[in-house]
Point group: C2
Amino acid sequence: MSKEPISGTKQRRRSDQVTLSQVAEAAGVSPITASRALNHPDKVSDRARHSVHTAVERLGYVPNLIAGSLASSRSRLVAVIVPSLVNTVFVEVIQGLQETLEAQGYQILLGNTDYDLDREYQLVRTFLGWSCSALVTAGLRHNQACHTLLANWDHPIMEVMELGKAMDLNVGLDHVAAGRCMASHLIEKGYRHIVYVGARLSQDYRAGMRFEGHKSVLKAKGLAVPLVELNTLGSLQAGAEGLAQVLAHYPQTQAIHFANDDLAVGALLAAQRQGLRVPEDIAIAGFNGLPLGQHVTPQLTTILSPREEIGRLAASILIQRLSGKAVEHRQHDVGFTLQAGGST
Amino acid sequence: MSKEPISGTKQRRRSDQVTLSQVAEAAGVSPITASRALNHPDKVSDRARHSVHTAVERLGYVPNLIAGSLASSRSRLVAVIVPSLVNTVFVEVIQGLQETLEAQGYQILLGNTDYDLDREYQLVRTFLGWSCSALVTAGLRHNQACHTLLANWDHPIMEVMELGKAMDLNVGLDHVAAGRCMASHLIEKGYRHIVYVGARLSQDYRAGMRFEGHKSVLKAKGLAVPLVELNTLGSLQAGAEGLAQVLAHYPQTQAIHFANDDLAVGALLAAQRQGLRVPEDIAIAGFNGLPLGQHVTPQLTTILSPREEIGRLAASILIQRLSGKAVEHRQHDVGFTLQAGGST
DNA sequence: TTGAAAGCGCTAACAA
DNA sequence: TTGTTAGCGCTTTCAA
């Protein structure tokens, strides 16, 4: 009963990894019983389960997940596609996803588009090739090819961050409303000369949506709506640069509504270095509610977005769907909270 | 020549995904030629390559990477295991890895241990099951089971962050030397009452190594070596807390050497809220060289660690190894740079 | 509860 | 340059 390759037989095994058949043989059962002992322990006798587990321990068996996935066409892999890792916001969403998914035995395949929808399409193609159980992507905007590919895919698709017309599942918040909220706050505070400063709004289009909300409020009040758009991604450095541009082009400005907290804090710290008082000389507001903004003096007025909650909620909805349960609400609004600090 | 299931034949295909055989048939070639046209375009005639690509387009074929990996026992997956995503340092390493690996067609399988070596072991098991082409893990410390598993694995293993006795490949910096460097700087500046403040040093043991370097320098000068260890992970909030503890327990303190920039900036901002002058009343130093530290006033004295470079260098060494080339140096010291700011 | 047979979709080995 | 054959390691289907 030798398992040695019979001469004349093709032999391709390269790795000397222990296989399930070897475990089964050692345990004195058939391969399929060994498989069941590991994956469906309740469908197997105590005796079989025990001898299989003993053999697994003794041989140091590590299941070949690729073979298992091919046979079952289920992979326990979840694709996660984000536009950036530099922006901590997406990292926190990933954190929330990972916590929940890893606990359920799913692994994350991570992709980074660098805000490029064509790269997103390539990543989606690759990930579909891995028979991912589900796909999470940041945002509702995709190129045509990507949309077509996903529309024909029969696994859960979760689009996170903003709310809108989603392909399948959707968890996020209303960025237009967030922009309106902050603009209203600034007006209530008595500011009339308000500039919006964003960075690459066509890429970070959610910041563009917040600007739309901001604009609608200012227009309704009959105010001008100056916009400064920086050509770098958001960072403290860019915020300092944004402040400089505002002071140069709109010297009468009373308040700056920044697209995010990185920019806002960068500007706040720069203002202080230049001896400007915040908010007396210039008021500053951000978006995201990063811890950093709560530690500077004055505290940054911002809008708290529940990033980790987006991740956790998205993950648990996916788990629900993947375990066959119906999902009542395909769309979840996680909301946002205005945090008024001393900076306005 | 129908491809319909012959009655009496077992039929398992569930998904109606286009397969390579269908592409081959449409292109009028054999499956293996279609495979070669896609994976080794130079080993196939122009005519064949062209007709296969046309068929791929027309049918919307997406290669099944799982099947390919099983057959070839190569997966183009690289496992990356980090202790935390909250700490931006690891995210920057991932960023560097991803840039380089994605460009070469590798995907990242991401695992997060939450500073738990048993979780690391579980993740390693899972990732080996995915036949990863290589594994990157943060740190040289693993539990026994993990060590054994990896020692018997015949793929590249890259341990990043600190330098030392690695299993295979190693890219990082000397944290003991970094600790010595900062301690020496503080002494040169004339401080004699210096406290080291860290957070969970047994988990963040690299910060513990920096403390060892710090300690050796202070001891050599005959100075006391007070240590404050916080029981939370590093954050701005924890830094404020650390400052409070130092002021309470060691009121004569002149300088605080924080284990990282998050703590240091948190303390610096807290000090300023309390009206303490930095560095006159209390000097503050950190580690990492986060952008944040360069934007506060005074600028934070810190040690710049090249995180993205660690990721990029690690990735290119792996790529080299994976493409069969020999790697001359299995260990790379990326070094560090003291950035003296106004905070000391 | 257990097992035999077949097949998941692709590629390595060998041959032409 | 192309094709035939077999097999990667596992799980499904079906039958006992």
